[in-house]
């Protein structure tokens, strides 16, 4: 059965994933919009940077975050200067790492959705004297709704499943950074296979349900199409 420590890790994981997903939508929407509309030479570079976590081993990302956010790193010196202390081994640190790690899963579906909308509805809105902001909220948002749903679900689910980055920057602290994937790993390492099965079963059921909703109810194309 699940112990109370196991339940705490599940709860913490959903807390991390919810906050990270909200942040990713907030940051990812303007970024994806810009990427979808711009002809700037920077587009390729920014696209590549956003997609990097898809390719990089999570431990590499985790290690560099540890260095950057540590007391000797530029980010760490900045947060220290702000009086916030350093980010590794803290809840905000894990959220920030998750945002970086799962960002492509939010930006890419949004970018695809925005690109599909094209120029015409925007031009039509402009002739009707809608302000750009008005156009975004009354034309773009409704048209891009499937993209937003996909981005939200994938961003959330991918954060729940994240492991290597949190292992590196988290420090395995109960109720702060010990997420469910780390807990499963520790159960397996300690040869507590029974408990590992229970937790892993929960994650398995969760991921399957999420993807099922994504592909049947929402009729989304498989992820690989989205990522092209």
């Amino acid at each position: 059965m699940l112990t109370s420590a196991d339940l705490d890790t599940l709860l913490l994981t959903f807390k991390v994933a919810s906050i990270a997903t909200a942040l990713m939508l907030l940051l990812g929407t303007p970024l994806a919009w810009w990427l979808a509309r711009t002809h700037s030479a920077w587009k390729g570079i920014i696209n590549a940077v956003v997609a990097m976590p898809l390719v990089l081993p999570p431990t590499v990302l985790g290690f560099y975050l540890l260095v950057l956010m540590g007391p000797a790193g530029p980010v760490g010196q900045f947060t220290n200067w702000l009086g916030l202390g350093t980010l590794p081994f803290t809840f905000p640190g894990v959220v920030i790492a998750s945002v970086l790690y799962s960002m492509p899963f939010v930006v890419q579906p949004l970018q695809a959705a925005f690109t599909t909308i094209g120029e015409q509805p925007l031009e039509a809105a402009a002739t009707l004297r809608a302000s750009p902001l008005d156009t975004f909220f009354s034309v773009v948002l409704p048209l891009a709704k499937p993209g937003f749903l996909t981005a939200t679900i994938l961003g959330f689910a991918h954060t729940v499943g994240e492991f290597g980055v949190v292992l590196m920057v988290g420090g395995n602290i109960p109720d702060k950074t010990r997420v469910v994937s780390v807990q499963i790993y520790n159960h397996v390492e300690a040869m507590e296979y029974g408990q590992a099965h229970w937790l892993a079963g929960c994650l398995l059921a969760f991921s399957f349900t999420v993807l099922l909703v994504l592909y049947t109810v929402l009729k989304t194309q498989p992820v690989t199409h989205q990522l092209k």
């Binding site: 540590g70 292992l167 590196m168 395995n172 602290i173 300690a190 040869m191």
Partner: protein, 254 residues
């Protein structure tokens, strides 16, 4: 028709090659993370002395045990403790009576900051550090030893909220080297060079404060037929190997 000369030479050379390879074999060794530096040196000496080679894989002992139980290809296990090899013995995966203690691990309280850790470890009671790094006591013997030291000094309750845990001793060192944790317990072998703590500051914890860390080696059944595997087991007890083990701050088994 006589066989052309070059063909004969080629065949002879090929046969010699095969002959040479079956004599100079290669052994796949799973090595506990704390023993990675000395083992790399020992492997080089082993190759020079016997002609066999040792391929080394570094990681946490617990993971190696699960991998070996599930058909992992290792032929020799150099564990950080006794428990793992004993467990494999019970599962019948080892060569009988092959287990022995190759080194006794030493724990050190270490900081990347020079002059931060005093040679009595008083910093533990008085320090202003925010994080205390250690390897997960449930998984790593050096982590369990660290908890023992804290309990013995009556500091466990006070310092537990400051714990940041590495999955193994190598990851714990990363927390310390990047200065994200000011202070932590690691293996002496990780920071020692030429018999001295090479950088930062540290307190080598007296052996009476924790149960001896009996790092044990075991020959796995997979390696029984490979001449290089028992040769490596023997070499680990030889004078050149023991000198390397001692150089890295381990005590030698009695």
């Amino acid at each position: 028709m006589p066989v052309p000369n070059f063909t004969r030479i080629f065949i002879t050379a090929t046969l010699l090659q095969f002959g040479h390879e079956s004599w100079a074999a290669s052994v796949l060794v799973a090595v506990a993370a704390n023993f990675s530096k000395p083992m790399t040196e020992i492997a080089a000496e082993f190759e020079k002395a016997t002609g066999h080679s040792a391929k080394l894989s570094f990681g946490s002992s617990g993971k190696f045990v699960s991998q070996i139980e599930n058909g992992g290809p290792f032929e020799v296990l150099l564990s950080a403790d006794e428990k793992g090899p004993q467990k494999l013995e019970k599962s019948g995966l080892t060569v009988q009576d092959s287990r022995f203690v190759y080194a006794l691990g030493k724990l050190v309280l270490w900081s990347a900051k020079p002059g931060y850790v005093d040679d009595q470890g008083k910093i533990l009671a008085s320090g202003d550090f925010k994080h205390l790094a250690l390897a997960d006591p449930k998984l790593a013997p050096y982590g369990a030893a660290a908890v023992e030291v804290l309990k013995k000094n009556g500091l466990f309750e006070k310092l537990q909220p400051l714990f940041v845990q590495g999955e193994n001793i190598a990851q714990t060192l990363q927390f310390l080297i990047t200065a994200n944790a000011e202070l932590g317990f690691i293996a002496l072998s990780q920071v020692i060079e030429n018999g001295k703590i090479a950088s930062g500051s540290g307190w080598i914890i007296p052996g009476d404060d924790y149960t001896p860390i009996k790092q044990s080696a075991v020959l796995l059944k997979r390696g029984a037929e490979n001449p290089a595997a028992p040769a490596l087991m023997t070499f680990l007890k030889s004078a050149p190997a023991l000198a390397i083990i001692e150089k890295y701050g381990y005590d030698l088994p009695k």
